[in-house]
């Protein structure tokens, strides 16, 4: 089977899809016919090339990831979601453009160094803009031991610290709506005035007090990360 440049991308897409189905969906195997990318079935040849590289095993038409394939898929997913995070946080692009751009960009992250740099830049994010988790990289493990991250929830900011709202995320959609109504939106600069007894901060020309539960939902990109 010939592997031309184009199908590298398809291979990655297939691996990502398999990761989502098997790792996140909790399945043992997936029938090849169910792997559908952009509305079309995947060419048999792609599976064949993945199998030849030892990334998947085929049991009839059921596909499983091998250990090697599992690791490869994890990295691919990580690159994809990191890219999304980057386009959403740094370039501030809207949903569809972000997805489109991320799909292209992820393939440029194959160089390990570049992936790490972006991960550091983004503050080792835990979730993609859709709220799905980003697999941890080596750099994230290293960063866990460091105190300061670039993007942290407001309740981890120190008193007097300032930054820019990177994103708002909460499992509770009511909380999210309230924050939106208050004008707490990505891109707005904030300064944390007090942490106790409530979180007091300035956004724009308004000043708010909120409790810790709401502060947890506001993720701030620190302006002057204190490198102690």
């Amino acid at each position: 089977m010939q592997v031309n440049g184009h199908s590298y991308e398809i291979r990655d897409e297939v691996l990502e899809e398999l990761w989502v189905r098997l790792e996140e969906g909790g399945l043992e195997s997936v029938p090849a016919g169910e792997i559908i990318l952009e509305g079309t079935r995947v060419n048999e040849g792609v599976f064949e090339s993945l199998r030849e590289d030892g990334l998947i095993s085929l049991d009839g038409s059921d596909i499983r990831l091998t250990d090697k394939g599992f690791e490869e898929a994890r990295k691919t997913i990580r690159r994809h979601r990191l890219s999304e995070r980057m386009f959403a946080d740094i370039f501030d692009v809207v949903q569809e453009e972000m997805e489109d751009a991320a799909c292209r960009f992820e393939h440029m992250l194959i160089k390990h160094e570049l992936e790490e740099k972006i991960c550091v830049l983004l503050g080792h994010p835990k979730q993609c803009p859709h709220g799905r988790s980003i697999p941890i990289g080596e750099c994230c493990l290293r960063a866990e031991t460091m105190v300061d991250q670039a993007v942290v929830p407001m309740n981890r900011l120190r008193q007097g610290e300032s930054g820019v709202i990177a994103y708002v995320h909460s499992g509770d959609s009511e909380k999210l709506k309230k924050l939106m109504a208050m004008g707490i939106l990505p891109g707005e600069p904030v300064a944390l005035e007090r942490r106790y007894p409530s979180f007091v901060f300035n956004v724009g020309f308004s000043r708010y007090a909120i409790d810790e539960g709401m502060a947890e939902a506001i993720f701030i990109r620190r302006q002057h990360p204190d490198k102690r």
Binding site: Q95, E96, L176, P186, S198, G204, F205, S206, M214
Partner: protein
């Protein structure tokens, strides 16, 4: 009005609002749709405008932007229809005359956006949707224009004719902000008018622009990206007819707005099914609420529009104000300041001046010496039947008891309380207090936002129980209602208790300590028992400012007016009930029954009467104790036990009725049956402990 933000609220069931039900709304939509567009007048009607052709102005905007003050400026009067205190809640209606034309003006409760989160916001939204208006005034706080402009965009997008009013310009200028009004107006394609409603600046130009007419919607377009736009396009034809553009209604539907979904369902199951499948499909495509993306896009568009329009230079706020502010929100200094406010504002001014000086003069002098003898005399002369005489005059008469208590005792106390409360409210202190107290309140299932009803409870528990409806969840409302009924003494009661125990600091300390412990314990337990989680706490902190006389006056007088309209009749009812009770012997029976628990907690028989009266008016009860005490019948211990029991005892009739109205009879009865034994149990326990420890207060 720094506190409107907290207390925005509309009465959902009656009185206010264009109709509580979606169905009602739909009933009128057909006939009223798009009326404002076709009916746009050109403004040359001449002097006498017939009633039917009054053009109608609807005022909308965030809470806390000075909308009410603007309303008063436009209409030139303080017409406050069906307003209830603590809030600008309902719809205020008034008339504005300018350039020989007449307009009707309606002010709506604060709302943050067209997508309404709370029940309260929906009142104004429904009015907008009904389209029963020719012009919408969107009032914003100029210094927060960037945050409020997205709402303007929503209104324009909905196809409504809008004038944007940049209010509170003075504060924006103080903050070093400059706004290029003309450029903004050109970019938006609508008139933009800067005003200062408190001082009246800019009001005349605003009226000129309104009177010039020629307003119309311009369908300003904000793009929300392919996915959402596609869904909105598919959904639009299925939307009901309202004053909004179909696209705008579709966008609301995509956010699963309850009202709009209700209207869609009413269009028949086939339409509804198609609509819901579009909505659900979009939800699957997006991993965050649709609302999130809409808000984000609108904000981005607003920021674009404001580029070069809004500029800021650095200004340093007054050092004194900043320092005071810091002290207020720091618990170390904030708590002592709270103690000072309570001591001087409430203990000294309300307790000392209101309950002391003013009551002594009105009750002790005017009523005792002149009014009561006069009424008694004439009643005896004109009415021959003693039973009827007792109804009007004598000990428990409607005039001699009801009116006397309402006017001579309660009015001065409640009036001074409302005055202090309004001053505190206007200064911006309450939001700071709420952030200070949030952590404590979370323990009892409330959030810092509950400081309003809770502090108001020290003025009048009845009014406070009404204001609990501004709390977010039913759970919070119930907890607040229970605590108000049980452990928050009203000002009338406080006044008399302080007078009773003035010579006995031990009694006051025991009383405050016990009631406070019960407050926390019951709050904690109620929060444990009721299902549901703790409420979120979030509040905007307005700048501190010296209270403005006009605001304080409006707030105090509105509350006083409410008090008289709502409470006075209940006073009168109470005295009729007491009269009837006396006449039928029911009263004596109740007294006899109450005698047992009263004696059980070590109090003399006479105290039973105080408890019984306490139900009719809590302060009647304490006043009754006062009589007993002046005869020297109560020891210090008994006084402590009596005041504690009476404070915890059932709320007064008025509060009970409001509890029933607001929370339903089941909650009201449960609370009452729980409070009754608890009050006596706590009283008995305190009595037992004092005796056990051989403490003589």
């Amino acid at each position: 009005m720094p506190f409107d933000g907290l207390a925005r609220c509309g009465d959902r069931r009656h009185r206010h609002g264009p109709g509580g039900k979606v169905s009602k709304l739909m009933g009128v939509l057909g006939s009223r749709k798009h009326r404002h567009r076709g009916g746009c007048h050109t403004g040359d009607d001449g002097g006498s405008v017939p009633e039917s052709s009054h053009r109608r102005i609807l005022m909308v905007g965030n809470p806390n932007v000075g909308k009410s003050a603007l309303f008063n400026r436009l209409t030139g009067s303080y017409v406050v229809v069906s307003n209830y205190p603590g809030t600008t809640v309902a719809l205020s209606r008034g008339r504005m005359r300018h350039g020989g034309q007449e307009f009707s003006v309606v002010d709506t409760p604060g709302m943050y956006s067209l997508f309404s989160i709370t029940e309260e916001e929906r009142v104004g939204r429904r009015m907008l949707m009904e389209g029963d208006h020719d012009l919408v005034l969107h009032v914003v706080d100029a210094k927060n224009l960037n945050r409020m402009l997205p709402f303007t965009l929503q209104l324009l997008q909905a196809g409504l004719p809008v004038i944007l009013v940049l209010n509170i310009m003075d504060e924006a200028e103080e903050a070093g902000l400059a706004i290029d009004v003309e450029t903004l107006s050109r970019r938006l394609g609508i008139p933009v008018v800067p005003t200062v409603s408190i001082s009246g600046k800019g009001i005349h130009p605003l009226k000129d622009i309104i009177a010039a007419g020629g307003w119309g919607g311009n369908g300003f377009h904000v793009d929300y990206g392919l996915t959402i736009e596609r869904a909105a396009r598919e959904l639009a034809p299925l939307m009901p007819e309202t004053a909004f553009t179909k696209r705008s209604t579709a966008l609301l539907a995509l956010q699963e707005d309850r009202d709009v979904l209700g209207m869609i369902s009413a269009k028949g199951s086939e339409t509804a099914q198609r609509a819901f499948s579009i909505i659900n499909a979009l939800k699957k495509d997006l991993d965050r609420p649709v609302n999130y993306y809409l808000t984000l896009n609108r904000q981005r568009r607003a920021d674009q529009l404001l580029e070069g329009v809004m500029t800021r230079r650095e200004v340093t706020t007054g050092d004194l104000r900043r320092t005071l502010d810091r002290f207020l929100i720091n618990p170390l200094t904030g708590v002592p300041i709270l103690a000072l406010v309570l001591y001087f504002g409430f203990y000294k001014f309300v307790g000392g001046f209101g309950a002391g000086t003013v009551v002594d003069f009105l009750e002790g002098h005017l009523f005792e010496d002149y009014f009561i003898p006069f009424v008694n005399g004439w009643t005896e002369r004109l009415i021959p039947w003693p039973a009827l005489q007792d109804l009007i005059a004598m000990d428990y008469g409607v005039v001699t008891l009801g009116v006397r208590y309402a006017v001579a005792i309660v009015m001065p106390i409640v009036g001074t309380f409302f005055l202090v409360f309004s001053v505190v409210e206007d200064s911006g202190y309450l939001p700071r207090l709420s952030l200070l107290i949030d952590k404590l309140f979370k323990r009892i299932g409330l959030s810092g936002r509950a400081v309003i009803p809770m502090t108001l409870g020290f003025g009048c528990g009845t009014m406070a129980t009404m204001v609990t409806r501004t709390l977010e969840s039913v759970r919070e409302r119930i907890i607040a209602t229970v605590l108000l009924a049980l452990a928050i003494p009203c000002s009338a009661q406080l006044g008399v208790i302080f007078a009773l125990a003035a010579q006995k600091p031990g009694v006051i300390v025991t009383w405050i300590g016990t009631v406070f412990i019960i407050f926390l314990a019951v709050g904690y337990l109620t929060a444990r028992i009721l299902p549901g989680g703790n409420p979120d706490f979030f509040i905007e902190i307005p700048p501190l400012r010296p209270p403005r006389l006009a605001n304080v006056w409006i707030k105090t007088s509105t509350r006083m007016r409410w008090y008289f309209m709502e409470i006075l009749p209940l006073f009168l009812l109470a005295s009729v009930l007491i009269w009837a009770g006396n006449l039928t012997g029911l009263f004596q029976a109740a007294l006899w029954a109450l005698g047992f628990p009263t004696r059980a907690i070590g109090l003399p028989d006479e105290a039973a009467q105080a408890f019984l009266f306490g139900f009719f008016r809590r302060d009647y009860g304490v006043a009754g104790l006062y009589d007993i005490q002046t005869t020297g019948a109560l020891t210090g211990n008994q006084l402590a036990v009596a005041t504690i029991t009476l404070t915890l005892f059932l709320p007064c009739v008025a509060q009970f009725l409001v509890m029933m109205k607001e929370r339903g009879w089941r909650v009201a009865l449960t609370v009452s049956t729980f409070v009754f034994p608890l009050a006596f149990a706590v009283g008995g326990m305190v009595n037992y402990l004092l005796n056990l420890l051989r403490i003589e207060l």
